[in-house]
C-alpha cells in the first residue's frame, strides 16, 4: 500500500517539475531579453529558497546566513572562470558546491553548539558578515569592487559542444541545472534522511534516544543546503557577469526567508512560489525606485499577519473549501 503512495507523490512532483521546466523553456520565445534575464535569476532564486526551506521546514533550523553560501559559490565560479578559464564549467560548479559544503561544515560545527533557534540564527548571521569583510579585504576577490567580466561558459562533454556565451543560451543551462537541484532537494526532503530530520525537528530528544546522532544529522543537512546554495550562486555569476561583496551581506540572506514566508514554508514548492511572486513585483515596479521594497514589505506584513501558511496555504485552503462544497452538494443531491 505504501510504495504506491510514495510512487504517487514522486510522480506528482515530477509532473509539477516538468510543467515548470517546459514553461521555463518556452518563455524566451515569448518574452524579451530583459524578462529572460529575470527568469534566469528566478530559477536560481527558486533553488536558493528551497535550499533554505530544507533547513527551515524539514530540519527545524533557522539559518540567517544563506548569503555566505551563495557568495562563496558565486566567487568560486568567478575566480575559476577568470584565473583558470581552461577549467570546464561543470568542474567549476562542482568546486563551488564543495566550497559551500565546506563552509557549512565549518560554520555549522561552531553554530550548532547553540542549535537552539535564535542563537544559531545569530551565529550564522555573524559568519555571513565575516565572509563579507573577508571579501572586501581580499585583492584576489576584487575588494569592494567585486569581480566583473565573468564570461558565460562553453561546455564540451564528449561529442557534445555547447556554447552558452551567445544570447540567451546560458538561460537554458541555468534551467536544466536548477531543475536537477530541485530534484535533489525533493529527494533529500522526502527520503529516509528527510524523514529522520523531520523526526528530529518534532522531538529531538526522542530521536537521540533511538540512537540518532542528532547534531551530525543537522550538520549534514546544513552542508547539503550550503552546497546546493553555492551551486546556485555559481550559476548566478556568469549570468550577472559581475559579482560584488553585497552577495554575502545579510540583506541577501533575507531573500530566501522572504520567498519562504511569502510562498508558505509548509509546502515543498512554497519558496518557489514566493520567489516567482517577488520576481513579478520587481519587474512591474522596476521604473519606480523604492516601490519594490514597499510592495515587498507590505505583502510580507499581510502574509505573516493573516496568511501564516503563505500563498500556497491560502490556495490550498480555497481548493479544500471548493472540494468540500462540491462533495457537500453531491451528498445533498444524493
Amino acid at each position: 500500500m505504501m510504495p504506491a503512495e510514495a510512487r504517487a507523490a514522486r510522480n506528482r512532483f515530477l509532473a509539477t517539475l516538468l510543467c515548470v521546466v517546459v514553461a521555463g523553456a518556452i518563455f524566451p520565445s515569448v518574452a524579451n531579453r530583459g524578462l529572460v534575464f529575470i527568469a534566469g535569476l528566478l530559477w536560481i532564486n527558486v533553488v536558493f529558497g528551497l535550499a533554505f526551506n530544507l533547513l527551515f521546514a524539514t530540519g527545524g533550523i533557522l539559518s540567517f546566513g544563506q548569503a555566505m553560501f551563495y557568495a562563496v559559490g558565486a566567487y568560486a565560479a568567478s575566480v575559476l572562470s577568470l584565473r583558470l578559464p581552461e577549467l570546464p564549467f561543470l568542474w567549476a560548479l562542482l568546486v563551488s558546491g564543495l566550497a559551500g559544503a565546506g563552509l557549512a561544515v565549518v560554520a555549522g560545527t561552531v553554530a550548532l553548539r547553540r542549535s537552539e533557534g535564535v542563537y544559531f540564527a545569530v551565529l550564522t548571521l555573524a559568519f555571513g558578515e565575516l565572509l563579507h569583510i573577508v571579501i572586501t579585504k581580499s585583492t584576489l576577490l576584487g575588494r569592494n569592487d567585486g569581480l566583473n567580466g565573468i564570461r558565460r561558459p562553453v561546455i564540451d562533454i564528449g561529442m557534445l559542444h555547447l556554447d552558452f556565451s551567445a544570447g540567451d543560451a546560458f538561460y537554458y543551462f541555468i534551467l536544466v541545472v536548477c531543475a536537477f537541484l530541485v530534484g535533489v532537494l525533493w529527494m533529500v526532503t522526502h527520503g529516509a534522511f528527510g524523514r529522520a530530520l523531520l523526526a528530529i525537528r518534532q522531538e529531538a530528544q526522542r530521536a537521540e534516544f533511538l540512537g540518532m546522532p542528532v547534531q551530525r544529522y543537522r550538520l549534514i543537512a546544513f552542508a547539503i543546503s550550503g552546497a546546493i546554495t553555492a551551486v546556485a550562486g555559481a550559476l548566478a555569476a556568469p549570468w550577472l557577469q559581475i559579482v560584488t561583496p553585497d552577495l554575502a551581506r545579510w540583506s541577501n540572506s533575507t531573500n530566501p526567508i522572504l520567498f519562504t514566508l511569502l510562498g508558505g514554508s509548509g509546502f515543498f514548492w512554497g519558496p518557489a512560489a514566493g520567489a516567482a511572486i517577488l520576481s513579478v513585483v520587481f519587474y512591474t515596479t522596476r521604473t519606480l525606485a523604492g516601490i519594490a521594497d514597499l510592495a515587498t514589505g507590505g505583502m510580507l506584513l499581510v502574509v505573516v499577519l493573516s496568511l501564516p501558511g503563505g500563498v500556497l496555504g491560502l490556495l490550498n485552503a480555497v481548493r479544500q473549501r471548493a472540494t468540500r462544497r462540491h462533495s457537500g452538494t453531491e451528498a445533498a443531491d444524493g
Binding site: 505504501m2 510504495p3 503512495e5 510514495a6 510512487r7 507523490a9 514522486r10 529527494m187 533529500v188 522526502h190 527520503g191 529516509a192 534522511f193 528527510g194 524523514r195 529522520a196 523531520l198 523526526a199 518534532q202 522531538e203 530528544q205 526522542r206 530521536a207 537521540e208 534516544f209 533511538l210 540512537g211 540518532m212 546522532p213 542528532v214
Partner: protein, 252 residues
C-alpha cells in the same frame, strides 16, 4: 551470581549547589527487573538521566557490559543496547503511529550498520513488515494510520515502548511507565512490559510510584531517599526493612 549488565558506582550529581544524588551505587544483572522507588524529590529522575546519558554525573562512573559509558552520549548508548522511555511519552507528534515506528526501525537498522539510502522514499517490504510486527506487539495495529497527537495517552505510551523495542535493546529503562494512566491501563501496561521483557530476554530498570506496579514487576527493589540508597534487595526483604517502612511504604 548472574552477569552484571549495568553498574553505577558512587554517583554524585547536583544542580548548582544543591546535591541531588549522593554516592549512589546500583547494579542491574542480566534478566533482572530492577525497580527504583522513593518519595518525590528523592532523585529518581536524576539517577535515571545519569544512567541513560541525558546528564553526566559530577563524580562516579556508569559501566555497561563492563565498559565505561559515564560520558558516552545518549545516542551511542542507544546504539549499544539502551532503550529508554520518558515519563511523559515522547513520540513524533505530527507523524502517524506507523511513521513513528518506521523512524525507530530505520534508526535501529542504521545503528546495526545497515545502509539505508538517504533518498529512499518508501521502506523496503522487510522493514515495512517489521513495523507492522512491532505495532502488533504493542497492540496498535489498528491505530497505524492515526497521527500520534490524536492517540489516547496510554496508546502513545505503548507506541513509545514499541519504538524502544524496535532497537532490540538488552536493557530497557522506563521512567514511571504508568504515570498518568488509569487503573485498567496500568494493569495492561504491566502485563505488556512483563511479556515483552520475558520474551526478548530484556533486563529492566524502572522508576515507579504505584506499588501495584512495583511488586508486579520487580525482582529487585532499590529505595532512594534524599539522594541516597537506603535499601536494596529482594522486594519482600526491602518491604520489611524498618527504615523503608518509616520513610516510604508506611505512608501508602
Amino acid at each position: 551470581m548472574a552477569e552484571i549488565l549495568l553498574e553505577a558506582l558512587g554517583i554524585y550529581k547536583g544542580y548548582g549547589r544543591i546535591p541531588v544524588l549522593k554516592n549512589v551505587s546500583l547494579t542491574i544483572e542480566r534478566g533482572e527487573s530492577h525497580v527504583v522507588i522513593g518519595p518525590n524529590g528523592a532523585g529518581k529522575s536524576t539517577l535515571f538521566k545519569v544512567l541513560t546519558g541525558e546528564l553526566y554525573p559530577s563524580a562516579g562512573g556508569v559501566f555497561f557490559e563492563g565498559k565505561d559509558v559515564t560520558r558516552t552520549p545518549a545516542w551511542q548508548r542507544a546504539q549499544r543496547g539502551f532503550g529508554r522511555t520518558f515519563q511523559v511519552a515522547r513520540v513524533f507528534q505530527h507523524m502517524s503511529a506507523r511513521e513513528n515506528m518506521l523512524i525507530a526501525v530505520e534508526t535501529a537498522e542504521r545503528s546495526r550498520g545497515a545502509w539505508i539510502p538517504p533518498w529512499r522514499l518508501a521502506p523496503t517490504s522487510a522493514l515495512e513488515a517489521r513495523v507492522a510486527e512491532l505495532l502488533e506487539d504493542v497492540g496498535l495495529a489498528d491505530r497505524a494510520a492515526t497521527v500520534a497527537s490524536e492517540l489516547a495517552y496510554g496508546d502513545r505510551k505503548r507506541l513509545e515502548l514499541g519504538m524502544t523495542l524496535a532497537l532490540q535493546p538488552s536493557l530497557l529503562l522506563l521512567d514511571e511507565p504508568t504515570a498518568g494512566m488509569s487503573q485498567s491501563e496500568r494493569k495492561a501496561s504491566v502485563d505488556l512490559i512483563a511479556r515483552v521483557t520475558r520474551r526478548h530476554g530484556i533486563s529492566l530498570l524502572l522508576t515507579e510510584h504505584d506499588m501495584g506496579v512495583v511488586f508486579g514487576l520487580a525482582t529487585r527493589l532499590t529505595v532512594l531517599h534524599y539522594g541516597e540508597v537506603i535499601a536494596s534487595g529482594e522486594p519482600d526483604a526491602v518491604r520489611e526493612d524498618a527504615r523503608v517502612r518509616e520513610v516510604y511504604l508506611g505512608h501508602e
